[in-house]
């Protein structure tokens, strides 16, 4: 078990900077998920922790010891790769035991430890097979076994589930979680899949464009996104964003004559803001209900347990998730209602969260 301290870490490739100064602290035994779109620098950051990429600036310390100049093998990290990276000419047992062989562990002890790992991962009957003869999920487990056997201080996962089919991914997700509970090693897991991130993480780090946007528990990140980027990236379907301008008695929405009636303090009249509302927080009501916002139905996606209704709100796309059995026809008009407490405000210029609003007026918050 080990803590990881990242201070002012930057990464340059030739002239372009891809990671612009990251500060993070991972506690010992924590399961941290780094989430971000592709190209946000999350994998680069992970590889810098592993020692596979040089650190251009700043320091990374594991258990208080700066590891910038250490070889990967000296850092006590183990890594699970996206494409598993199993040695194709070695059997499962040899793959799992290779690091021990390199370290000069005697054959008898090696076999014993391989057996122990194989038992945990239910790979015992596959030990003699070559990776080529394994299914995707089995290969994934071998890759995890290879990481586990070294009893590393830190586990690093580089999008390990993205090559699996949807069902297997869910299964492996819970296995990774169980494994972590069992081994209790500090784990850093990189993914672009927000469901994976939400379900696995003790703590979530959301990255964008080489910068950390927010660090927090999945619940915090979901309920209080620190920026417009986080708000739209975390949660599916994405949070609805309505552009508007602060007026004396609320926020007037761009592209229409509608107005959000919110009580707010401390925000300059005339400031441009984006108002976010999660699709799950919107209620569908009969058109013409007092205080409801009228919108035209575009498309309905059936999810089984519920459905996503995509509507058009003065030209802006807007989505509603509902579990009610109402079935509006595409093209028909419906009413939308939501509570002021569920609204998020972001600065249109910086994208940062604006927390100056105090909820005092009960619903309905909206007037059509």
């Amino acid at each position: 078990m080990a803590s990881i301290t990242i201070r002012g870490v930057k990464k340059n490739y030739a002239k372009t900077q891809v990671v612009h100064g990251v500060d993070l602290d991972f506690a010992s035994g924590e399961f941290v998920v780094i989430l971000g779109p592709s190209g946000c620098g999350k994998s680069t950051l992970l590889r810098m922790i592993a020692g596979l990429e040089e650190i251009s600036d700043g320091t990374i310390a594991i258990d208080g010891m700066v590891v910038n100049k250490l070889e990967p093998r000296e850092r006590g990290c183990a890594m699970v790769f996206q494409n598993y990276a199993l040695y194709p000419h070695m059997s499962v047992a040899q793959n799992i035991g290779y690091s021990l062989k390199v370290a000069g562990v005697p054959a008898a002890e090696r076999t014993q430890r391989i057996q122990a790992v194989a038992r945990v991962l239910e790979l015992e009957h596959l030990l003699d097979r070559k990776p080529m003869a394994l299914s995707g999920g089995q290969r994934q487990r071998v890759a995890m076994g290879r990481a586990m056997i070294r009893e590393p201080k830190v586990f690093l996962f580089d999008e390990p589930l993205s090559n699996l089919d949807a069902k297997l991914r869910v299964q492996m997700r819970s296995e990774i979680r169980k494994l972590h509970r069992r081994l209790n090693a500090t784990s850093v897991f990189v993914t672009h899949d927000q469901v994976e991130a939400m379900t696995l993480a003790d703590r979530l780090v959301v990255m964008n464009g080489g910068r950390v946007e927010q660090v927090g528990t999945p619940a915090e990140v979901y309920s209080r996104p620190a920026s417009r980027f986080v708000a739209t990236f975390v949660g599916a379907p994405a949070m609805n964003m309505l552009e508007g301008e602060v007026t004396l008695d609320g926020i007037s929405l761009l592209g229409g004559s509608r107005k959000l009636n919110v009580s707010r303090t401390g925000l300059a009249v005339g400031a441009k803001v984006a108002v976010g509302i999660r699709p799950e927080s919107v209620r569908m009501v009969a058109p013409g209900t007092p205080g409801a916002l009228a919108a035209t139905v575009d498309l309905i996606e059936e999810l089984g347990a519920g459905r996503v209704i995509y509507v058009d709100l003065d030209g802006a796309p807007f989505s509603v998730v509902t579990s009610e059995t109402v079935h509006p026809e595409p093209g028909s008009t419906i009413g939308l209602q939501f509570a002021e407490a569920d609204l998020h405000f972001f600065s249109s210029e910086t994208g940062g969260r604006l927390d100056v609003f105090k909820v005092s007026v009960p619903e309905p918050a909206l007037q059509g």
Binding site: L52, C77, N83
Partner: protein, 304 residues
């Protein structure tokens, strides 16, 4: 896609068969000639029905040219060259693909350019070096005045000399460097996924460990293909062995075939010469037959 085109099939096979005859006919004629006696082989036209003296001719050829030790020499030389090439080119390609150092691409292109310089072009300087491997060093010492200095100080005259003429090392070493092999390995190493390299690093394997444990086993097919080609190539070398082996105990089978070819004024014993040719042809044939499975796999992409 399966097409049913009987007429096209017929012509395709016809062409294939013609090509086959074209390739095989000379060998058949050699084998038939080797089975005739002195009179029949000199008939014009020579009878294309096999004669009855095949084994006698083989034995005569074997003893006349003393092929036993010559074949052994050839085998040692060809095997040494093939093994040397496989090892050297694997190491060179490993260095070029996996390490970043200044001048890396320059070195690669220098190696690549030597593809255009066959042995025959550089045979005189190569001979000079093999005659005295230390010659270049002697030249450096002489030019810088160091040998003069050493002689003044210690009274010892510096005379570096290490000749490799008439030795296996002399036969093998100058032929060991290979641009083709380096290039073949380079292309293969480039197809090995980076993640494998990184996984090995995470597992704590250093560069040489990675080379020995991961890269070499993965390039088995490559080694077999390169080894086979180079064995054949070295077996068929003529000019180089001819130049540097003056002593019969290091003569090669291919160069010694010359002894069986009738001299002007001698008896036209072509049947013996043909029998000798058949014997010398046999070892490379066996190597190809044994290696062809890996050989083909090594030349057509990677197994995935």
């Amino acid at each position: 896609m399966v097409e049913r085109t009987p007429i096209l099939n017929f012509f395709t096979h016809l062409i294939l068969f013609a090509g086959f005859i074209f390739c095989v006919a000379p060998f058949v004629i050699v084998a038939i000639a080797a089975s005739h006696n002195l009179k029949d082989v000199n008939d014009v036209p020579m009878s294309l029905l096999p004669g009855s003296d095949f084994w006698v001719n083989i034995q005569t050829a074997w003893t006349t040219a003393d092929l036993g030790p010559k074949l052994l020499n050839s085998f040692i030389m060809a095997f040494g060259v093939a093994a040397g090439k496989v090892i050297i080119s694997a190491l060179t390609a490993f260095s070029i693909v996996y390490f970043r150092y200044p001048g890396r691409m320059l070195i690669f292109w220098l190696i690549f350019i030597t593809l255009m310089l066959p042995l025959e072009v550089r045979i005189v300087p190569t001979y000079a070096v093999v005659a005295n491997v230390l010659e270049p060093y002697q030249a450096i010492l002489d030019l810088t005045g160091l040998s003069w200095l050493i002689e003044k100080v210690s009274g010892v005259q510096v005379q570096l000399s290490l000749g490799l003429l008439n030795s296996y090392s002399g036969l093998i070493l100058p032929l060991v460097a290979t641009a083709t092999g380096t290039f073949l390995y380079r292309q293969f190493f480039l197809t090995v996924p980076d993640e494998l390299t990184e996984a090995a690093r995470m597992d704590g394997a250093g560069a040489l460990r990675f080379f020995a444990d991961i890269l070499l086993p993965l390039s088995r097919n490559n080694m077999a293909a390169l080894g086979t080609i180079m064995f054949l190539w070295a077996w068929n070398q003529y000019l180089w062995p001819l130049l540097i082996t003056t002593d019969q105990s290091h003569a090669m089978a291919v160069t010694e075939l010359k002894q069986l070819i009738p001299n002007v004024g001698g008896a036209p014993e072509w049947h013996i010469a043909m029998a000798g040719t058949l014997i010398v042809m046999l070892p490379p044939l066996i190597v190809v037959v044994l290696m062809q499975r890996w050989f083909v796999r090594g030349l057509i992409a990677t197994e995935k």
